[in-house]
Amino acid sequence: MAHAQSHTKRIWIVFWILSAITIVEVALGIYKPEALNLTSILGTSPLNWIFIILTLAKAYGITWSFMHMEGEKTWFRRAVVWTAVFLIIYLVTLLLIEGDYLYSTLAPLVRW
């Protein structure tokens, strides 16, 4: 914070990376290549995994560069990031397992 050199150039580089990721996501979302969309790997399509990984990459870019997390003290960073990441993974895992269970229990009762 106190150091006065400018980060302007780096900010724009991060911006272009984030934009490029978004363009890739949108292009994949519009064209949905069959090889990626209609196959399955680790429970969902490769396309969905690509979306999730690109999203996490964007989240990393925003947090580390724009929110300047990289400049914070190590254990402050961990207090924020580890707490949030752990609780979110925990919650999402439980809820998705529960949702899958609900589907397997209720879907046979629905007549199409």
Binding site: M1, W12, L18, I62, S65, F76, V80, I88, Y103
Partner: protein, 327 residues
């Protein structure tokens, strides 16, 4: 008493931790980070609940590409384009925000002012876009019918492309239904909007037009597309019609599962509310910058703190974008 209350003994403000800076972060900045953690958990809970519900109805969930296809001032199907634009607006306003913070480190009042203004404009464009998106979603495009067993039936042409009720429904309503208004009836009675077409009219138009087919919510998991029924099966399903649905609200939804609309309103609404409050914070800080408050204070840390909040709103949108529109 002295054992229990904080007595400032070094002339530093007690509310700010008495000048103590654990982790080298100021009180305000640290509290903003911890607020962001708790807010992130709130949003995660919403998105995780969305995930649970989607998994619960995995074989009939609406396909986002078929729901969000509109771009203002242009006719036709452009899935994703407008949300992508909104994402860019938000990323760009994040960049101007971080440039404002950077200019603040150099005590460059003029640059901070300009970048704050650009950030506010970006935020307003985003919220406006979201309002437009809501409006389009609420008004609906095609119209559908809901059956007695709670399923949504949509209409497609012979090529499987969705068509609106207005594209094939002909003839007269059949019933002489008119919208009740307070002016021409009982002033204390209200009636919800009557659909443009009657159920009988839709059924007879369907029977009369062999090009029209019916699409159910059921997803063909091989092709990841909604199932189109044969004419006979369609006629059978259509006979169960209970309600003509045009658009979406918290109770009915022409795109499919009602709870999809509920989540749409809830999650994008909650995010939009965050953007709105972010804009208000930014405006307050913007005027403080113009008035020279931070110049006098000797640092622009307030810009940084509000910046953290603004980036967080962007961060949340990245996830909403993925899980609502892409996956």
């Amino acid at each position: 008493m002295e054992a229990n209350i904080a007595v400032p003994n070094d002339k530093k403000p007690t509310w700010g931790g008495g000048g103590v800076r654990p982790f080298g972060a100021s009180y305000g900045k640290m509290m903003m980070w911890f607020f962001i953690v708790s807010d992130a958990l709130t949003f995660s809970a919403f998105l995780a609940a969305y995930g649970l519900t989607r998994f619960k109805f995995i074989d009939s969930w609406p396909i986002a590409d078929e729901v969000f296809t509109h771009v203002p001032f242009v006719h036709g199907d452009f899935p994703m384009i407008y949300v992508a634009f909104m994402t860019f607006v938000l990323i760009f306003s994040s960049v101007t925000m971080v440039l404002a913070v950077d200019a603040g480190h150099h005590m460059n009042k003029k640059k901070v002012t300009i970048y704050m203004l650009l950030t506010i404009i970006g935020g307003i464009i985003f919220v406006g876009s979201q309002a437009w998106e809501w409006n389009t979603f609420i008004n609906g495009t095609y119209g559908a019918v809901k059956t007695t067993d709670g399923k949504i039936l949509q209409f497609v042409d012979s090529e499987g492309k969705q068509i609106a009720l207005a594209d094939f429904v002909v003839g007269d309503r059949g019933d002489i239904r008119e919208q009740h208004t307070k002016k021409n009836g009982l002033w204390f009675e209200e009636e919800s909007t009557i659909a443009q077409y009657s159920i009988a009219q839709i059924i007879s138009s369907y029977e009369a037009n062999p090009d029209v087919q019916i699409r159910t919510e059921l997803i063909d998991l091989e092709k990841k597309q909604k199932t189109i029924l044969s004419r006979e099966k369609g006629s059978e399903e259509l006979a169960k019609t209970r309600l003509v649905v045009e658009g979406a609200n918290l109770e009915v939804n022409e795109y499919g599962n009602t709870i999809f609309a509920d989540f749409f309103f809830f999650i994008t609404g909650f995010h939009g509310f965050h953007v709105l409050s972010g804009i208000i914070f930014n405006i307050i800080i913007f005027f403080n910058v113009i008035l020279g408050t931070y110049e006098k204070r000797g640092h622009y840390e307030m810009v940084e703190k509000v910046g953290l909040y603004w980036h967080f709103v962007d961060l949340v949108w990245v996830f909403v974008f993925t899980f609502f529109y892409l996956v």
